[in-house]
Each structure stands twice: as C-alpha cells, then as structure tokens.
C-alpha cells in the first residue's frame, strides 16, 4: 500500500510545487503584461498633459503685457484658469493691484498665497541676456511693479537658492529651463501652475492650469466601462488622485473594499502623485492560475490512477501466483503422497539388491549406488513437499528420540558426497557435537540436507563446503559455510519466505521449488531453535540451532 501511496504523495507534492511555480510564473507574466498596459494607459493620460503644455506655450507667448489682454486670455482660453506674470526674480506682477483685481483674480491670489509667500522657487530666476523687461501695462496705466510686492513678499531670491526643476521639466538650454510645472496643495486637492519664460518681454508668464479640465479630458481619452478594452483584461482600472481617491474607473468588475490593486503605475510629473491601479477580476489573472492548477491536478490524477491500476494489477498477479503456487503445492502434495509408496518400495528393493549383489560386480554396484542416492534425493524432496504441506496446515511438529548429532551430520554428508564430488565441492567437517541427545534426526537431516543441496545448487562455483557443529548447553548448533556468491545484502530477510528464489544471473538456470529454506527454518524453530543467515567473507553461512537436551541414563538404555 505504502508503495502506491508514497509515490502518489510525492507526485502530489511535486505537482503542487510545480503548479505553484507555474502559477507564480503565469502571475508574473500577467502582472508584467498588465503593468505594460497600465503604462500605455499612463502614456495616454500624459499625452493630454503634453498637449496642454503645447497649447499653453502657444497661448502664453503673448506679444505684450496688457492687463486686459491677459484677462481676456484667462476668460476665453481653455486650459487656463488664471494667467500670471512674474518678473525675473519671481515677483508677482499680475494679477496686480488690490483695487483692480477681479473676483477671480482675488480668488487666484488667495489660492496661490502659499506659492508666492512660503513656497519654494520653482524656476531658475536668471534670464539670458535680453531686452529691458517691459512693465505690465495696466488699464489705468499704473505699473504693477509697486503693488506686486504686496503679494511678492519674500519672493526675491538669489540664483543660489533656486532649486533645480522637477524631472518633468524640459530643458532646451543646458542651464535653465524655459518652461515647467509647479504643483501645490490648496483646499481639497492639488493645483497646477505652468510657467514659461518669455525672453522677448523678459518675464515669466504662467497660468494656473484648469485642473478639472485636464482631469475631464484625461477621463475623456480613457476607456469607458462598456467598451471592449483591448488595453486591459476584464478587471477594474482606477485613476487615483494625489489624495488616494478614485477620480475615474472603468471595467465591469467591482473589487471588494480596501482590496489592494494587482498592479499599479504612477504617472509622470506634474501628475506624479497620481497613479493608475489595476484590480484583476477573479476571471483573468487568478483564472489563469486556476487553469494551471487544473492542468496539474489532471496530470497528477492521471499518474495516481495509473499507479493505483498498476498496484491492483500487481496485487492480483501476486495473489494469483500465490494461489497458483498453493495449487501447485497441493497438487505436488497429493502426487508426493502417491509417489512416496512406490519410492519407498524402490529404495527398499534397491538396498536389498545392494546387499545381495556380488562384491566383484563393480559396475552393477556403481549403478545401484546411483539409484539408491537418487531415490533418497527424491525421497527427501517428497519429504520437503509434505513438510511444507503440513506447515500450511500448521502441523509442523518434531518427534525427538535419542541420537548423535555428529553421526547424523556425517550420514547426510555421506549421502550427498557423490553429487558434491561430482560438482567439485570439497567438504571439510569440524564436528564437536558428539554424544547422545534428544533430537529429531529426521528434522535435523532434512534441514541440513536442504542447506547442503542449496550449496550444490547455488554455490558449487566456490568449490568448498565447511560444516561445523558444536554444543552450547542444551543447544546444538550447526554451521554450513560455502564460498559461493553469497546472499546480496537486503535479500537475507526474504530468503526464508516460501517460493523466494534469488533471481540473479548466477542462480538462473538452477532448479528448485523455493520452499527448502522456509521448511528448514520452520523445522528448526519447531525444534526449539532457529535458522539464520550469517554474513561471511565471500560466501554464505547458514547456522541453525536445535534444542537438544542430553539423554539421561535411564533413557539411554531404552
């Protein structure tokens, strides 16, 4: 189960990570796109400002400074809210004398008081060499110069105190600008002054720009809500003023209150306090993300499905194999029972024949030995199969009688010796478990026989088989060591499972039922011991222990 769930989990994790990355990437791309589009919109806003600049430059290039002409300019010209004239030092010359101001002019002076009094110089005061400055000709003929000081208090400034112009100001001359903007706050919002240098008259002529006209015109060039706007997707775009208030918005989406814009872009001077803000609707920016997520969920789902299907398939295959193996065993079991009787007869008569054969008939004796050995081998195989069948029915049991372990070991080796010799395997024995103990000789011989035949089958290349025995109190231990390829690390645990055969190139081709070690361990455990695999240099060592209490005198006689 874990095998299936873990990859799915990992995949899910990976998928989510990838989806997040993808989401982020798509988000970033969309943001960049929207920012670019906002900048486009910003440019069309600034285009209004620039056309205002051009028109003002044209309007303010007056030939003379007649007060009524200036008034007429204010009255009739669009974009101008109020014209003003400054002397080169920044002294306000027009609107001038208190008694001659119109209501509008008074209001203008009231609005701009901070500009003239406490404000900063907003243009370079120095004029390039030019004609003598002309006075503003008032209607009454009085010069505005004298009365201008009333409003121009503190306006005279040296060149040193003049600040450089803002970034928006264009500088045709390297040292001083010929026109520029100045913004100030009054009443409920920002106001804008535009000024230009009139070299001919030696004056700075400026105007308070009609801010509502400018805003209105900007709104006019911006898209309306119903328009299908190729400029931005379906979200809402806001033009936000210097005070953070929405001046205009378009798009059919209404973002929740206080929500942060997806992207924002500031306008350029003199509207640098203004910004454009775009709020993406759940449908556009987030929508792309949802699509991304769906794609990933889909991919993940597909992979998971494949994994689950594979798991189901393998599970079914496995259980089918198990079932088939079970059936095989059951079949072999039944056949084995059927085989056992004739085999017993074959062995009995072969051994009888062995006793009766004349000594000199070497050839016949040799043949008979093979018949006897092979029938014993067959008998052992059958016993294995029957033991496994018993084990399946939880019927593993041992019946101990008094016997000598080392004798049994010797007997097993002798039985195998012809085939061992045939495979070039030298046998060395170090037997130190002599003496009569209570032991199931059949079980002992079956365990050892299985181990030895494994060596025959899998480790014959090593050319060596060492068997050591010993006794440790009431436990007898037996070690079988070969110099074969050994057991790969990590597979030792699986060795004892039924039908496990270590499939690798070296064992390929070897035959076996795959139940030998399993039965051997079961028998050892039933005998109060265990069968384990021990690591050893260049080969495999199996060690099994049996509980073998010593035989008491009364028993030994029996």
């Amino acid at each position: 189960m874990l095998i299936v769930l873990m990859p799915i989990g990992l995949l899910a994790l990976l998928g989510v990570r990838l989806a997040q990355d993808e989401q982020r990437r798509v988000d970033d791309q969309l943001r960049a796109l929207m920012r670019a589009r906002l900048h486009d919109v910003g440019r069309s806003c600034m285009a209004v400002v620039h056309s205002t600049e051009l028109e003002l430059l044209k309007r303010l290039a007056v030939p003379s400074l007649d007060a009524w002409d200036l008034r007429e300019l204010t009255r009739a010209q669009r974009r101008l809210r109020q014209v003003f004239v400054l002397d080169p030092q920044g002294l306000l010359l027009y609107p001038g004398a208190v008694g001659e101001q119109t209501i509008e002019e008074r209001a203008f002076i009231e609005r701009t008081r901070s500009v003239w009094e406490g404000g900063e110089a907003f243009f370079e005061p120095e004029f390039e060499a030019g004609p003598t400055p002309a006075p503003v000709a008032g209607q009454t003929g009085s010069s505005f110069e004298s009365v201008g000081r009333v409003w121009g208090r503190g306006l005279r400034r040296g060149a040193s105190s003049a600040k450089p112009l803002s970034a928006a100001t264009k500088t045709p001359h390297a040292t001083q600008a010929d026109y520029g903007w100045h913004t100030w706050f009054w009443g409920t919002g920002m106001h804008y002054l535009f000024w230009s240098r009139n070299h001919k008259l030696g004056r700075v002529i400026g105007a308070e720009v009609d801010r509502m006209d400018m805003l209105s015109e900007i709104i006019g060039v911006l898209p309306a809500s119903g328009e299908s706007t190729a400029r931005l997707p379906t979200g809402l775009t806001r033009l936000v003023n210097a005070r953070g208030k929405t001046a205009y918005q378009w798009g059919d989406y209404e973002p929740p209150e206080n929500s942060e814009p997806t992207v924002r872009a500031s306008l350029d001077a003199p509207l640098e306090m203004w910004s454009l803000q775009y709020f993406s609707a759940p449908g556009d920016l987030a929508g792309a993300g949802v699509r991304v997520r769906y794609t990933w969920a889909l991919a993940l789902g597909a992979v998971s499905l494949v994994l689950v299907l594979a798991a189901v398939y393998f599970y079914r295959e496995n259980s089918r194999e198990l079932r088939e193996a079970g059936e095989r065993v059951s079949f072999v079991n039944r056949v084995s029972h059927e085989l056992k009787t004739p085999l017993t007869n074959i062995r009995m008569y072969a051994e009888m024949l062995d006793g009766n054969l004349p000594e000199e008939d070497e050839t016949s004796r040799g043949y008979l030995d093979i018949v006897i050995q092979e029938s014993r081998r067959l008998s052992r195989l059958i016993t294995n199969v029957l033991a496994f069948a018993r084990k399946q029915k939880e019927e593993v049991a041992v019946r101990t009688r008094s016997g000598d372990v080392d004798d049994s070991v010797t007997s097993v080796i002798e039985t195998h010796r012809p085939s061992l010799t045939a495979r070039g395997i030298e046998v060395s024995l170090k037997l130190r478990a002599g003496g009569m103990v209570l032991v199931d000789i059949d079980a002992l011989e079956q365990i050892l026989g299985n181990l030895v035949s494994n060596v025959e089958k899998y480790a014959s290349a090593g050319g060596s088989l060492a068997i050591r025995t010993g006794r440790d109190g009431s436990m007898t231990w037996i070690e079988v060591t070969d110099r074969g390829p050994g057991i790969p690390a990590g597979r030792a645990a699986a060795l004892f499972e039924p039908f496990q055969r270590l499939e690798n190139s070296l064992t390929e081709g070897a035959s076996g039922t795959g139940i030998g070690l399993s039965i051997a361990r079961d028998l050892a455990r039933a005998h109060g011991g265990d069968l384990v695999h021990k690591d050893s240099d260049g080969g495999a060592t199996f060690r099994f222990t049996l509980h073998t209490p010593e035989v008491h005198d009364e028993d030994s006689s029996g």
Partner: protein, 438 residues
C-alpha cells in the same frame, strides 16, 4: 414719456451685417436721479434673441445626454428618464449630433456621438439601460463632453444634458470642483444643463455646474415631470440664435460699478465683463449692473457708460458686435424721479434682489437658524408683493407666492425638497429661465 429710450443709442457696427441681430436694450432703472446726492441705481443690459426665418434652418445641435443609472435610479425614475430622453431624441433633426452616456461607478457610452439620422438605433440604446451601482457624476459629464468634442463646432449648440438623482460619490464631488469643470467646459463652448430628480441629489453641485457652464438647471420633484423638463430644455437648445455672448461695460469716470446681480462677472476698475453662453429665440436675457453715481446738480446729464456686446450669430455664422450707451438726468423733483422709473428694469431688479435674499434665507436655514430664515422669506414675500402691485407685475406676484411657500416649508421633514425648489428658483431668476416647473 420714456426718456430712457431717447438717451439710449444702439449702434450697429460693421457694414457686412446681414440677417437679423440680437436686440440690445440698455436702460437705467432710474433714468432720472435726484440731484446733488450720491446714490445707487441699476443698469440693465437686455438681450433678446431673434426668430429664425426658417424654423427648419435652426442651429444644429451637438448634444450629449448623460443619464445617471446608479441603483437609486431603479424603477419608475429610470423608466421616466428613458422615456424623456427617447422623446427628446425624436425632436432632433438629421443635422443634429447626439450621444448618450450612462454612468454609475463607471461610465458607458451607450451611443457614441453620431448624426441623429437613425433615431431608432439611438433610442434602442437608451431602452437598454438598467440601474445599478454608485455615482461617478464627474466622469459621466467628462465622457459626455468628450463625445461632444468629437464634433465640436462653434456653429452648433454644444450641450451636455445631465440627469441625476443622487450624490456624486466617485471622482470629484464638491460644488466647487464641478463648478471648475463647468467653467472649463464653457471655454470650449460646451454648456451643461443639469436636471435634478427627486430629493436625493446635491442641488448646490448641480446648480454650480450649470451656472459655471451657462447651462440650465431644473428640479424634477417626480419622475413624471422629466418629460416636461426635457421638453423645455430641448426647446431652449433647439432655439439658440446666438452664442458666446460677451457683454463689456465701460463705466464713465466717476461712476462706480458695484456689482452684477445674479450672474458671474468680472469687475476691474471701470470695466465690467459678463458672458452669456446662449441666447434663445424671442427670449430675453439680461445683465443687471449696480452702479454708484456721484452727486450732480439739477438738469445735469451724466453718461453712465458704454456697452459693447459681441456674439456668434448662429444664423449668419458671423461674429457680430453691437454697442450702446446710456446716460441719466438729474432733477430736484423726487416726483419726477418716481414717475420716470423704468418699470421693466425695476421688475428685473426686484426679482434678482429677492432671489438674492432667498439665497441668504437658504444660507440661514443651512446654518440651522430656521426662524431667521423664515422671517427673511416672509419679508421677502412682502417686498415682492408690494413691488408687484406698484410695478403691476404678475411675475413678481408669483415670486412672492414662492417665497411665502418657502417660508412655511422650512421644517426638517420638508426641507430637503424645498431646498431644491429654492435652488432651482434662484437659478432661474439669475439666468432668466422662465420655465419654472413650480
């Protein structure tokens, strides 16, 4: 015995003047003044639009109908507004240009500026309107103006007709800011007429926007009145005979121009400049200037000032100029002074003075001083009644009735509606719009 007419000389300037001209009528409220006394009197510069020879040849218009479609407009208001607009479009001719804009929190251009040849399509655009959302009034007017600018032509009547029932809550929203917008639009030759519907709109804002742009302002108490008001408005718009009217008064030395009643005007030194965007056929608009005269001996004749008007003649497509001058005669006889009073000028003066007092009463009520406001309105009613009988003016009598009506409707429950009525009345008086729906 109309001495005033004898002293008034209207002179046509320019030899190329063909077709009819606006009628310029300059008169003093008191052609005879009391001798040896500094006093105040009024100069009235009256302008009356001529009649088009051929009605079919009226001035083509360029109109943007700007409709509030915020959620407060839903239901009957929206339906009536749509009906009124649809009906108004029916009155347009093939040379006219119309656009339809609807605004809530955003602005939709339902019908971009287009010739009114396919009126059916335009009206279909209006029918689709549904009310929802908040009120971006400034943006709505801006978009309307932008549509008009597409075909801006000094030989057309360029007008935004704004209908709103609510408070502007997106974009600029103070009367001052909307007034600035109005001032900017009039410089482009665009007027904004504002129609307030119901009791929820900001009458100061709507009046200021109309005032600064020289449009009309009207109050529709119920949606049913919209059709009538649209009709009046279109009647005005369709009968414009002169535009960009500039009135310049140069007072003679010694004459002090005090103020212009009602209208916005620039007074600087001896010069007074006032502008009227539009003159309608057969309707009189006027500028009333209050002047202070120096003491003069008996039988002295004193020139008060010269008047010059320039305007765009919509029939001849020329800029025409008219001049006139006015003088007064001094006499020791107070009976003579009283006898010589120009009744029509006095009616205008009384009307504007009363409208000014009505404004002050409104301001008092705004400050919460209900009693002072009531007293002022009652005395204003009496002032109008007295003058109505002495000047034999039914108009003043009607205005007296309105002031008395105002006086009894100052309580909290009725104030919201009454304030709008007062604002509309003041606006009509200041701008000589005698189409009151009161």
């Amino acid at each position: 015995m109309r001495v005033a007419s004898a002293l008034t000389v209207a002179v046509l300037i320019g030899s190329a003047v063909e077709g009819r001209q606006v009628k310029l009528d300059v008169a003093m409220a008191n052609p005879y003044l009391v001798a040896d006394k500094k006093q105040v009197t009024y100069m009235k510069i009256g302008l009356t639009g001529f009649e088009f020879e051929d009605v079919a040849k009226r001035t083509p218009v360029n109109i943007a109908i700007v409709l509030d479609r915020s959620s407060s407009m839903s239901g009957e208001k929206m339906e009536k507004a749509k009906q009124a607009a649809i009906m108004a479009v029916d009155r347009l001719g093939e040379d006219d240009i119309v656009s339809v804009i609807a605004y809530n929190h955003g602005v939709s251009v339902l019908v971009p500026a287009t010739k009114a040849t396919h009126r059916g399509n335009i009206q279909d655009g209006i029918r689709k309107l549904r009310a929802t959302g908040t009120t971006a009034l400034f943006a709505g007017v801006s978009k309307g103006a932008a549509e008009i600018r597409k075909f801006l032509d000094r030989n057309r009547v360029n007008r935004v007709i704004l209908l709103s029932d609510g408070l502007a809550n997106v974009g600029p929203q103070t009367p001052g800011e909307l007034g600035e917008l109005g001032s900017a639009l009039i410089k482009q030759g665009i007027s904004v007429s504002t129609i307030g519907l119901g009791d929820g709109y900001n009458e100061d804002l709507m009046a200021e926007l109309a005032l600064r742009s020289d449009g009309n302002h009207a109050f529709a108490q119920t949606p049913a009145q919209l059709a009538k008001i649209f009709n009046y408005e279109f009647g005005d718009v369709l009968s414009v005979v002169a535009q960009e009217v500039v009135v310049t008064i140069d007072c003679e030395p010694g004459i002090r121009p005090v103020r212009v009643l009602g209208r916005k005007a620039d007074i600087s030194g001896q010069r007074v400049v006032a502008t009227l965007n539009q003159l309608y056929s057969r309707q009189e608009k006027f500028v009333l200037l209050e002047v202070e005269t120096p003491p003069r001996p008996h039988n002295d004749v004193l020139d008060i000032g010269k008047v010059e008007i320039t305007y765009a003649n919509m029939e001849t497509k020329t800029t025409d100029e008219l001049t006139s001058a006015v003088a007064v005669r001094f006499t020791k006889s107070e009976e003579e002074v009283a006898l010589q009073v120009d009744r029509l000028v006095m009616v205008s003066c009384v009307g504007l003075i009363a409208a000014d007092r009505n404004k002050r009463a409104l301001a008092l009520r705004d400050q919460g001083d209900v009693e002072a406001a009531r007293r002022m309105l009652i005395s204003n009613g009496e002032y109008l009644s007295v003058n109505a009988s002495s000047l034999e003016s039914p108009d003043l009598d009607q205005q007296a009735g309105w002031n008395n009506d105002d006086a009894i409707n100052l309580d909290a429950g009725k104030w919201k509606i009454q304030r709008k009525k007062m604002r509309a009345y003041q606006y009509e008086m200041d701008n000589q719009l005698m189409n009151s729906s009161r």
